[in-house]
């Protein structure tokens, strides 16, 4: 009788563990499923994502601060992973400048806080990120706008490709 009870207890305990594990994972998944983001991003389990990204110097428009259309800037969000965005600036020249505007949405059901914004890039170009982003708290479903200013310095030679990276971290 006692042995039967021991086996039963162990079975119940194992069952309890399984149930709690499932509950734990469901909790994790629920933060995505309840979020207002798109289905693709939810399925990937991402919390803050980019929902818009655009430049102020689209193809065929006069360069910002200049009198003619020479360079152009394109910004896009990775359709497979909305935590990544790409910016491509073409036919730039010393003195060229443009601004990339973007919007971040918190797709989790808990608040997130942007703790750091880091920029890496070559000296030939200046990349400045909206300083107000750092420290911003996004509630569930909350959104915030930010921008990046890019300026090509006089030291940038012609026919050259430069890369820069902006990383936004939070917790």
């Amino acid at each position: 009788m006692a042995g039967k009870r021991t086996v039963t207890d162990r079975v119940w305990m194992a069952l309890l563990v399984v149930v709690l594990c499932c509950a734990s994972l469901i909790y994790g998944c629920s933060s995505q499923a309840m979020s207002p983001g798109s289905g693709l991003q939810q399925a990937e389990g991402k919390d803050p994502i980019f929902i818009s990204c655009c430049c102020n110097d689209a193809t065929g428009t006069t360069d910002p601060g200049k009198d003619k259309d020479v360079g152009c800037c394109i910004c896009g969000i990775d359709p497979a992973n909305a935590t990544n965005a790409t910016v491509t600036i073409s036919n730039a020249y010393p003195g060229y400048e443009c601004r990339i505007n973007f919007t971040i949405r918190n797709t989790a059901n808990s608040a997130v806080n942007i703790t750091s914004v880091n920029v890496t890039g070559p000296l030939a170009i200046d990349v400045n990120v909206d300083s107000s982003l750092n420290g911003t708290t996004l509630g569930p479903g909350g959104e915030t706008d930010g921008f990046i200013d890019v300026y090509v310095n006089d030291s940038a030679p012609q026919s050259t490709t430069y890369n820069f990276t902006v990383k936004i971290d939070g917790d």
Binding site: A2, G3, R5, T6, D9, M13, A14, L16, V17, C21, S24, L25, I26, Y27, G28, G45, K46, D47, P48, I49, C53, K66, K68, V70, T83, N84, A85, T86, V87, T88, I89, S90, N91, A92, Y93, P94, G95, I100, I104, A108, S110, V112, G121, I125, V127, V152, A156, P157, Q158, S159, T161, Y162, N163, F164, T165, V166, K167, I168, D169, D171
Partner: protein
Amino acid sequence: MNHRKMKRGFGKLGLICFALLICLAGTGVGYAAWTDTLTIQGEVNTGELDYGFEDYCCWCLCCPGGCQADLSQLERDLVSSLGYQSSNELSSKLERGRLPRVGCSCPNHCSVAGVDTDGNGHIDKLVVTSGGRYCAGILHFHAYNSGTIPLKITGVNWTGFRWLCAWPINDPVVEQLEPGEAVTACYFWKGILDDQERPYQFEVTLDIDYWNAP
């Protein structure tokens, strides 16, 4: 006895299960937290600043006597000797592709060769070979923007022969030259030393900069 065994067995299993439970619960909570860094990858491609010469040619002219000091007088003499009333009239004829109807009395003719110094398929230097002593001439060329960025021509360099004077009929200096666009230039040139070697050469290049440069 059995009750004690049951309690001991339950205790070990419970400890393991509890630890497992905590780990998995932590995994779930962590999964629910900020899961990824937002990243923006940027690429900046700078355009090309370059120019090219085309339709270049030169004519040898006999130098009216003297021409040592007063270059403007030389210009007037040359224009007159070609049968034109003014430099502007000569310039307009040249732009229409007409050659001055004048016999070259210099002992040798001049010639001009184009050089592609950077190997990008565009002639960026002209090498003019003069016929000989006292020979003057006219150099005519088109300069075009072979790059992708608007440029300005800030000057014309005459190098390779120290005692050379050149002055424009059509100056190619412009503030904005769009990609593919060309400008016409025409110069008088003259070696001014009595003991100049013959033949002699000089080179012509352009100073250019971005159109928006200060």
